[in-house]
Subunit: 156 residues, 2 copies
């Protein structure tokens, strides 16, 4: 009959297979990167649930704070969000009274915080700073200072 355990004769590099056997996820640092990012974003998302904002919405608030000439295309360029996707995002923030559209010229609209928007942003700042801190504290001290520089080197 079929003994499922009698299958191991695969004549490939035993070293690679061995490595995979011990920690299959370690094969791909890039994959580990994705897993870590997903886990972190899920966590931050849960924290931001308190103010009912998604991560991208919170980043928009953080980004436009103190500025009066950020258009949706500028925000999109900074956060890597297509203009087609910016529109509904901003509309939802406008509908909730957190930001408003202020005409800059005939065709450009500045996205600026409203008073309620500033209040929510204050809470967002607390949440994200706490999160960032616990994030860094999870990293052993000897690796800590290398983390963000390494991350930035990857894609900038």
């Amino acid at each position: 009959m079929v003994d499922p355990t009698s299958h191991p004769d695969n004549s490939e590099s035993p070293a690679a297979t061995d490595k995979a056997a011990r920690d299959p996820l370690a094969i791909l640092p890039g994959y580990t990167l994705r897993r870590a990012a997903n886990a972190m974003m899920a966590e931050l998302g849960a924290l931001l649930g308190e103010v009912e904002l998604r991560v991208s919405e919170a980043s928009i608030l953080l980004l436009i704070d103190g500025r009066s000439t950020m258009t949706s295309s500028l925000i999109g360029a900074a956060l890597d969000i297509r203009s087609a996707n910016m529109a509904p995002l901003i509309s939802s923030l406008v509908a909730r009274g957190l930001v408003e559209r202020v005409p800059l010229d005939g065709k450009s609209m500045a996205i600026v915080l409203t008073e309620p928007g500033r209040a929510v942003l204050a809470r967002v700042r607390t949440i994200t700073q706490d999160f960032e801190q616990t994030l860094m504290l999870r990293i052993p001290p000897e690796h800590r200072d290398h983390f963000v520089p390494a991350l930035n080197a990857l894609w900038r």
Copy 2:
């Protein structure tokens, strides 16, 4: 009334606003993590386009190589994919002849590589190893060895 340019008196920490002004994305390491992960996965995804596999499909092949008792639930546990999402994933790999389902007992199915699957996997290994290498080379040497350990500390 509202002159959009006369808006900069926001009586918050000028330091924080300043930091945000210079590089708004650097505010959130967690956000930078997400951006980096997205960029990396897009890149790897493009490379894997050569063998018409998504990142998750390629990881499955890498994971089951040399094993004859990996069930879809085990794979899902290792890669953090729900069993509901494993089903269509595996089905597609089966349909393409890369893996096959082998009954282990009445209700468990081992997912094992076929001969063509092994051939594709060899190519996948080359691609991912190349990718992994260029990834690490982008990180300045002094940060390099700290990257993966820091990443793993975040979520394991």
